[in-house]
Subunit: 123 residues, 2 copies
């Protein structure tokens, strides 16, 4: 059974915010089959939009990968509550993965960015 | 003249939040001389703590690298206002770098994390 990956960003009414997350998501959306981006609030597509679209496509299993550096109230309370509602409404199973910032690769990428910036400033 | 790097995280009263950012910062703090972590609010050390410590050490130039995926109100308004205050109070120069999420390397790291997680789930 296919499993659709949902990259979940916070969302904002500021288009520049969403553009940054769309750029961040692009390599994953390009490399990983059956992956989508969705916003928790204040921007579209919403999580509900993407789950409804999946159901239409015959997908009933989803994994949410939060594009968040750490888990705060949103990931500990709000998103699990949204997931419970979506599972009941759409008859689907949704797994919540840890926020991407909990993976050590992110710390390495941050180091690379800082070192690169320092080099650029020096030249 | 030496320039101190400040990795700026949002901060939270939840220790697990700060631990995640400390883990994210560790590779940079290890690799980059004269780098520190600071929190915008709700956790210590504060930005003021770190700038005051720098002044004590004879440092008068700082670069803030925001450990944020995108620039919202905090980075567009609150942090620039804090910087203005700190420059006036401490007689220092503080440069605000773009949030780490605006660097394409972060998007690549996110892709690697998702691909790795998918592989782990399959095995």
């Amino acid at each position: 059974m296919s499993n659709r990956i949902i990259l979940l960003a916070h969302g904002s009414s500021d288009k520049r915010w969403c553009e940054t997350f769309e750029n961040l998501a692009t390599p994953t959306l390009t490399a990983v089959a059956d992956s989508r981006i969705a916003y928790m609030e204040l921007a579209e597509p919403s999580l509900d939009d993407i789950v409804a679209e999946g159901v239409k496509d015959g997908v009933h299993q989803f994994t949410i990968v939060p594009l968040f550096l750490a888990a705060g109230r949103h990931l500990r309370k709000d998103v699990p509550a949204m997931i419970e509602g979506l599972e009941a409404t759409h008859g689907v199973t949704i797994e919540l993965a840890p926020p991407i910032g909990e993976n050590p690769q992110l710390g390495e990428a941050i180091k690379d960015v800082v070192v690169q910036q320092l080099g650029a400033n020096k030249s």
